[in-house]
């Protein structure tokens, strides 16, 4: 009887481990293309290993890390202290932050838009709804059409903190479910403006941002690496405690020279 009970207990204990053999990576839509590329290459090099990558936004990934449904959370923003506390309370461990790539949050406008640079204050006024016509920032006499991300997006939070300085987005801003959707919308709307990761800027014009030194900087590799581009940021992977096992092996690959070369291929900037 005791043996049966022990066997049943062992089976119960091992069943979840078998079911979660694949490493799950969830979160930032900014990072999702890069994470998928990493995962494809890693699985090619390591047959039998399985990495499952899904997007949804940084907030979704961090929530999954808190409730234990993902091994790695991708995030395009830093974890909030309240989120760290939730992980600590639930798992008796602190989350560990690993920067895996650099990005410059890029401001997109239609290719036909003559505006080529903006200050952070102008961007603030545009997205807060205080400036509603391109004429006010050196453009044509036309209404500005705002595109934004959903509030589960790390880019949404980063933009709100660093451009809007905590103020609310204008009610007229149309929220779209991914950076690709923002780029697509801006490319088709001549009066549109949107923001997102540098890797997505295809078929749209990138706006230079005026830094504190008065110079306007484009989101190039050098400007992002040196931090001259005012909207430079790190992209992160978060784990519950130190990365371990298969998750650690995958993250080591992402940070390896090969993994960091993929960062450049996708359109972001390496951290190493």
């Amino acid at each position: 009887m005791k043996r049966i009970a022990l066997a049943a207990a062992a089976a119960l204990a091992l069943a979840p481990a078998a079911a979660t053999a694949a490493v799950t990576v969830k979160g930032s839509d900014t990072l999702v293309i890069l994470a998928q590329r990493w995962s494809e290459n890693y699985m090619k090099k390591n047959p039998g290993k399985k990495i499952q990558v899904t997007g949804g936004g940084s907030g979704i990934g961090i929530a999954a890390l808190i409730n234990g449904t993902t091994d790695i959370a991708d995030a395009s923003r830093k974890m909030k202290s309240s989120e760290m506390e939730k992980i600590r309370d639930r798992f008796n461990i602190l989350p560990v932050e690993t920067p895996v790539a650099k990005d410059g949050v890029t401001i997109y406008v239609a290719e036909s838009n003559p505006v080529s640079q903006l200050t952070i204050q102008q961007l603030h006024d545009i997205y807060a709804g205080d400036v509603t016509n391109w004429k006010a920032v050196g453009g044509p006499n036309a209404p500005i059409v705002l595109y934004s991300r959903e509030n589960s997006s790390g880019t949404y939070v980063f933009f709100k903190e660093n451009v809007l300085k905590g103020d609310d987005y204008a009610a007229s801003a149309q929220t779209l479910p991914g950076t690709a959707a923002v780029v697509n919308a801006v490319s088709k709307e001549k009066n549109g403006i949107g923001y997102g990761g540098a890797a997505y800027a295809k078929g749209v014009k990138e706006i230079k941002i005026v830094a504190k030194d008065g110079q306007a900087y484009a989101p190039t590799a050098d400007n992002v690496k040196t931090g001259k581009y005012p909207l430079s940021r790190n992209l992160f992977m978060y784990t519950r405690g130190k990365p371990a096992g298969e998750a650690a092996a995958f993250m080591n690959y992402c940070l390896s020279p090969e993994g960091q070369a993929i960062v450049t291929q996708v359109g972001y900037f390496p951290v190493k």
């Binding site: 409730n67 234990g68 309370d89 008796n92 461990i93 602190l94 479910p177 959707a181 405690g241």
Partner: protein
């Protein structure tokens, strides 16, 4: 989400047009762009209105939890009244609503039990500059870790330590408290009635207010706090209306370690000393007026994988440190207890817990028993949202 709703609306609106276009494929264009544009404009307008409504609703949030329990108490006697913690019972059934506005917040929390429904929290919050806020009303006592920080739904051993149960009875009190955070340091404290939500129905019997507060530090791996409480109690039952001190001092520390491959490890400890317990009746007579005591605990917590956790606690509780055992040979001065709990999480909302408590008499009078015969086994299923 909102964009998906718009996409659905747009798809629904455009579907008939698309179907019609398919039927008339090859014929002249049947869809007037002006009509489609009008429909899209109409949907955009509806979407904008919906967005405003949803923004309002997002300010209102609900949370709560239910704890269904079965307990077995050693040596339980029913002849003198049913023990409070034996057999099946509902420990907590809480529902909390919060509405956040631009300048403040209102919070109401109800605790429903088979015999009564009581208000546990009911306060108004005014947001102040620099991230500070002022809470006025019935709120959590800003004292200690077990009471001031940890929710009843997150207790490592299902119940707080005996010292918290005595000197922070009821856990809530009516007053006004300031909340502030400066980097890793935070403060919560203010003026309270001092009787707790259970004492004198939460009302004070005199003009003397108690000053209660906790200064905390959060360094990530290590957190902790120092708590203080200074107040007075008037004994109206005495002819002289004698005034007694109602004071508490507390210190707590929590350490979170990433040591073992199976999961995180936490060590928590708290010390609390107090004078005069919280009154249990109206009139301010209070409980154990002027009596001094103390208590402490140390807890070791180990997560095992993603779904399991084990906790072990040792605590000591001295209700009256000046008790003369020579004069009271049948009495017990200190009670020590070792307890162990196992928790299993089903997803993020359901938790099954099993706990065992073994109290032992420490310092005692010559004729008092070593074993208080009060072991307890508790099983609990908690649902939280």
């Amino acid at each position: 989400m909102s964009s998906r709703i718009v996409a659905m609306f747009a798809a629904a609106a455009l579907a008939p047009a698309a179907a019609f276009a398919q039927e008339t494929q090859g014929a002249a264009p049947a869809v007037d762009p002006a009509i489609v544009e009008g429909k899209v404009d109409s949907l955009s307008e509806q979407y904008a209105e919906t967005k405003v409504d949803v923004e309002k609703l997002k300010k209102l949030s609900f949370s709560g939890y239910v704890q269904g329990r079965w307990s077995w108490l050693e040596n339980a006697t029913y002849e003198t009244g049913a023990p409070a913690r034996d057999n099946f019972y509902v420990r907590r059934a809480r529902l909390k609503a919060a509405y956040s506005g631009d300048m403040g917040q209102l919070v109401i929390q109800l605790d429903a039990a088979p015999d009564k429904t009581a208000l546990k929290e009911g306060y108004a919050r005014l947001k102040l500059p620099s991230g500070m806020s002022l809470d006025v009303g019935l709120q959590l006592l800003p004292f200690g870790y077990e009471v001031g920080v940890v929710s009843s739904s997150g207790l490592d051993l299902l119940e707080r330590s005996s010292a918290s149960g005595r000197w922070l009875k009821g856990e809530y009190d009516v007053g006004a408290a300031l909340n502030a955070r400066f980097g890793a340091v935070s403060f919560r404290g203010g003026l309270f009635n001092g009787n707790g939500v259970d004492g004198a129905n939460g009302k004070d019997n005199d003009q003397r207010k108690d000053v209660i507060g906790r200064l905390a530090v959060d360094l990530g791996v290590v957190t902790g706090g120092l708590s203080g409480w200074y107040g007075k109690v008037i004994d109206y039952t005495s002819a002289t209306n004698k005034v007694y001190d109602r004071t508490r001092y507390g210190a707590d520390v929590q350490v979170f370690l990433d040591l073992l491959p199976v999961g995180g490890t936490a060590v928590k400890a708290e010390y609390l000393m107090g004078t005069t317990a919280i009154g249990t009746g109206a009139g301010g007579g209070g409980d154990a007026l002027g009596v001094k005591g103390y208590g402490w605990y140390g807890t070791l917590l180990q997560s095992v994988g993603l779904h399991d956790q084990v906790a072990v606690r040792y605590q000591q509780y001295v209700a009256d440190k000046d008790l003369d055992l020579a004069a009271n040979p049948t009495k017990v001065k200190s009670v020590n207890e070792v307890s162990v709990a196992y928790h299993h999480y089903f997803g993020d909302a359901i938790k099954l817990s099993l706990a065992y408590y073994h109290p032992m008499n420490g310092d005692k009078g010559a004729t008092a028993s070593t074993d208080p015969k009060a072991d307890n086994v508790t099983a609990q299923l908690q649902a939280k949202f």
